[in-house]
Amino acid sequence: MWIDYIELKNFRQYQEDKIEFADPKEGKNINIIKGTTGAGKTNILNAVTWCFYGKEFHLAKETDYPMSNTLTLEELEPGERCTVEVQIQLRDESDRMIVTRVLDFGKTEDGKIRKMPSLTSNTPDGSEVRVLRTVKGKGLIDATDIAIETTIPKSLREYFFFDGERLDDYFREETSVSIKDAVFQISHLEKLDTTMDNLEKIESEFRKDAKGKLSNKAKEIEEGLRIREKSLKKSKEELETRKDEKSRAEQKEREYSEKLRGVDVKDVSELEEERRRLERKVEEDSKGRDTLDDNKSDYILNKAPSVLVFNVLSKTRELLKGKKESGEIPPDYKKNFIEKLLEEGSCICGTDISSENEHRKKVETVLKECDEITNISEELSDQNATLRGIQREITDDFKKELERYNREISKLENEIKGNGDRIEEISSKLMGVEVEKVRGLESKRREYEKIKNEIIEDIGSRKTRIEMEEKNIEDLKTRFEKELKQEHEGEKLRKRLVFCDKALKIAESIKEEIMEDMRKEIEKKTGEQFLQLIWKERNYDKVIINDEYDVAAIDQGGRDATGILSAGERQALALSFMAALSAVSGFEAPIIIDTPLGRIDEGKPKQQIAENLPNYFEGKQVIMFVTGSEYTPEVRERLLPKMGKEYEIKFEEFDIGNKACVVPYGK
């Protein structure tokens, strides 16, 4: 069915408005109502949910502000009342349904505004609803009790009427358990669940009934069975809670993994360690090189005098050699020794040379011929030895030693340069990486990974315990049946219990099969639509909803990219999922979306969604409330071929209240 018109009387900003929509079957399934923020778009959606379900589900926050239009209330005299009314007509090819909800407000004698609930009201807010529906051969008849629930059940409301701005949080806030819940509702399995609950109650009643007629043993087994079944139920509930927790932890882990994508954390740590090690080595080698440099300088300064005057040293050595060869060094006697002999007047042989005699004359002749250098002959010998040592050192060792220093310094400098280059390389690699941030992200990722793994382990243990409990219960049931077989009354009970058990098992199996089929169907439709909607066509491969009901967008590399979807991409995924749910639900109901493009980036993303959305909801009426920034000329251009009706909200604010009215677009 599609919405033919919405009529508003005194509802919020709207004093009196009738908004008509086009038949989607004529190919014009898109209807736009444009308005600025606060103009009243969302209140039209609230009007729809209030009319259908007696509640405004999209109020920004809980408010005591009366639902009635403030201008109308202002005009009331004390004792007078006004009526808030929303009427919606839905149609399809052969059917027509009119839903009207009313609620009165009045002004008391002291000027206060009060709700005036109807005495026949059956809704919490005191409003009254009436539903008229066409029945073949009978025209419009009262169908208040069941009509809405058969058209758009309250439990499925949010898959037909939804707030676009909240969509991008959908997969962040919703977990696998709530997604499983959504699939359950779409599968209309609540009746099957009710059947199963009833079967369990019946089974329990049978046992209770038969209690007084059972043997003590049978009673004991039955008591045990009841306790275990209660415990099993609690265990299963706890398991679901843990699955939910696991899902949350997995989501968080995925988020952090995706943030780290492109950064090999192991690489980062290794590179950092290498860089630290190399920096230490460079520092050590630099110190070593500086020490070698100093030692080389000292060596040069010490040897420089010997090298620079080497020729002078050589000449002196030559002279000394000559003196040695001529026998002057060492001398037979020193000059000062002869002088001493003459002074003392006695020769070493004892001859008297104190007076001028021939012996004295001979000694004096020797003295005359004696060189001064004979007095320093030891010194000259020492000089000779020292010069010989210098010669050897300079000729044999000097060059080699200098070369050794240069070699070692060069080796260190090459090491320093090589390591310095490697440090530069590492720094370049790490430059794009905020190392501290990466560490922080990795630490978080590991934390959630740990939590997830702990929960998985716990889930495993719980599943095993549940299996054991189920087995124990089965065994107990078998024992119970055996016990009952031996008693006449027990046999009757046994047959009833066997029947209930079988029926439960069949119902459970049907439920699982339907859920599985639904899951696959929704997964397929969500994936198809998401890939059409998404503007980065090449980034994503498919959407997966696994049997744990985790939803993931898988990229071309086979990786789960759900954690790093942008706000717009999340919105597209959620839109696709919602659209899949409503398509699979089997209910032919209109789709109303409030600000569908609010979080989508300008340009191609908005245009792509605008272009594909009508196709996805082919044949279904879509009513979208949009702001000016969403409804760009490019978006409008893409929607025009499918445009049914186009409106905008004119809003006026007065001192005493405000008023909005819906007018054709552009007028």
């Binding site: 090298v307 050589s314 003196k323 320093i376 040592g389």
Partner: protein, 143 residues
């Protein structure tokens, strides 16, 4: 006649500040915190090879002879022999060390100019190059 000789080497009073600067104050000096003898011998040899003797009209003691190494004394004596052309120059120790002091006085300013002209690394590098050149001229068995 052999003279007893001095017990120390002398420098010009006017050069004290230069010695101080190169030895104790100028961190970029290659002689910074090195032994005084190293600087004195460098000045002496530079003075002998590249400069001239400068009379010490006003002098002060710089290093005790006992602080000089045998190599230093051998070089000082060889310079005196080369100056006088005779081994007999070594008899007059007073003269031997006067020659050394005067060449050192002639060489210290040149040394200072070289060091201040190019900085630490530059002086040592130049010196190394010069020594390498000189050592090439030295043949084995040449003494």
């Amino acid at each position: 006649m052999e003279s007893k000789g001095p017990d120390r080497v002398y420098i010009r009073k006017a050069d004290r500040s230069v010695y101080d600067q190169l030895n104790n104050k100028m961190k970029s000096s290659p002689f910074y915190k090195k032994k005084n003898r190293v600087l004195y011998m460098a000045a002496l040899v530079i003075g002998f090879t590249d400069a001239e003797r400068l009379e010490l009209t006003s002098k002060e003691g710089y290093i005790l002879l006992e602080s000089l190494e045998d190599v230093d004394k051998a070089i000082i004596k060889a310079i005196a022999v080369a100056e006088e052309g005779d081994l007999n120059a070594l008899v007059d120790k007073e003269k031997v060390y006067t020659i050394a002091d005067e060449y050192a006085a002639g060489g210290i300013q040149l040394l200072k100019d070289e060091i201040l002209g190019g900085g630490y690394g530059s002086y040592i590098k130049k010196l190394e190059s010069r020594l390498v050149e000189e050592s090439k001229k030295i043949k084995k068995g040449s003494m």
